[in-house]
């Protein structure tokens, strides 16, 4: 019980940290990496709330597909935000 509460709090705080870093980062590739980190903490949260079906879709889409799509898009424009 206590361990799961700690896990929930730490994962949600970490996700907040990753979101902050992704928004303020000027290097877009690093921002994509932070966004993937945020998705990983969200999937930890979902697993802690025992929803394995959603975790599988969420990990595949938000860590894999979404990041890969953004990297493809960044390769067509500039890497650094001005």
């Amino acid at each position: 019980m206590i361990a799961s509460i700690l896990l929930l709090i730490i994962a949600s705080l970490l996700s907040l940290f990753f979101v902050y870093m992704a928004v303020t980062e000027k290097d877009l590739l690093k921002a994509v990496a932070y966004s993937a980190g945020q998705s990983i903490t969200y999937s930890i949260l979902l697993q802690a709330m025992s929803t394995p079906d959603i975790v599988m879709t969420y990990v595949a889409v938000s860590v894999g597909l979404y990041s890969a799509l953004l990297v493809f898009v960044i390769s067509k424009t500039e890497r650094f935000e001005r």
């Binding site: 206590i2 509460i5 700690l6 709090i9 730490i10 705080l13 907040l16 940290f17 902050y20 394995p52 079906d53 599988m56 879709t57 595949a60 889409v61 894999g64 597909l65 890969a68 799509l69 493809f72 898009v73 067509k76």
Partner: protein
């Protein structure tokens, strides 16, 4: 930079301590019994759909029509995305040089691992957590790491063109529609499961139409996302020459 992170760390540890002690002191009561709706699904899913997995049963049986419309929406989104890109496979053939041998070999191993896990997710979807969409998108992740490493031109040379992928997607979705429509022939409702399809074949539990839906959906999702990735990997220079055509 470092001061900003220090402030964040302080804020986070303060929040952690406050929220943890608040949860321990207030001690929110966890519900001791299920709601009526949850009880219904827990007790009846295995008899009504021949599947122990309530989520897949709800997605493809109880609310099957919703999921089929959702699949159609994704299909239209991918068709719209592909319509924006100009179809020119000659441009893709120019990009034939991939990354180094080391990267290629490790990518082969990783892609094989991802694909086997994806197959487990998709084909066990009616027995354990998972299903067609997660399995298909996991396959798409594998193809999305293969495309930049081996270069899109190499894939097209081997015969994996986006036209073929879109054709696979169309065929899979047509088959999915047929699976949903077939019970109507016997006068049953659309997306009927247990009254029309068998619960197991040769002792293998297939949960009626649920495993068919999962298989076809994973094929459709994987080929659709792979086609989009192939088009996205066309370099910008390839567009510049052919604007007059």
């Amino acid at each position: 930079m470092s001061r900003r992170i220090l402030v964040l760390m302080l804020l986070f540890s303060a929040t952690l301590i406050v929220s943890f002690t608040a949860t321990i002191i207030l001690n929110p009561a966890t519900p001791s019994e299920l709601k009526e709706l949850a009880k219904y699904y827990v007790l009846n899913t295995i008899n009504e759909t021949a599947s122990p997995e309530a989520v897949t049963a709800i997605v493809w049986d109880y609310r099957g029509l919703d999921t089929i419309y959702e699949t159609l929406v994704l299909y239209l989104a991918i068709v719209g995305g592909l319509a924006i890109f100009k179809m020119s496979e000659e441009a893709l053939l120019k990009t034939r040089i991939g990354l180094t041998l080391l990267t290629k070999t490790s990518t082969k191993i990783i892609a094989l691992l991802i694909t086997s896990i994806a197959a487990a997710i998709a084909f066990h979807g009616h027995l354990s957590p998972g299903g067609g969409f997660p399995g298909g998108s996991a396959v798409a992740v594998a193809s999305m790491i293969i495309i930049p490493v081996f270069a899109a031109g190499t894939l097209i040379e081997k015969g994996i063109s986006s036209t073929k992928l879109v054709a696979i997607r169309g065929a899979a979705l047509t088959a999915l529609g047929l699976v949903a429509l077939l019970p109507v022939v016997r006068g049953l409702e659309i997306v009927t499961n247990q009254k029309f399809y068998p619960a197991s074949i040769l002792g293998l539990p297939i949960s009626g139409s649920l495993s068919l839906y999962n298989l076809l959906e994973s094929l459709a999702v994987a080929s659709g996302f792979t086609a989009v990735a192939l088009y996205l990997s066309i370099p910008e220079e390839a567009y510049k020459g052919g604007s007059s055509a």
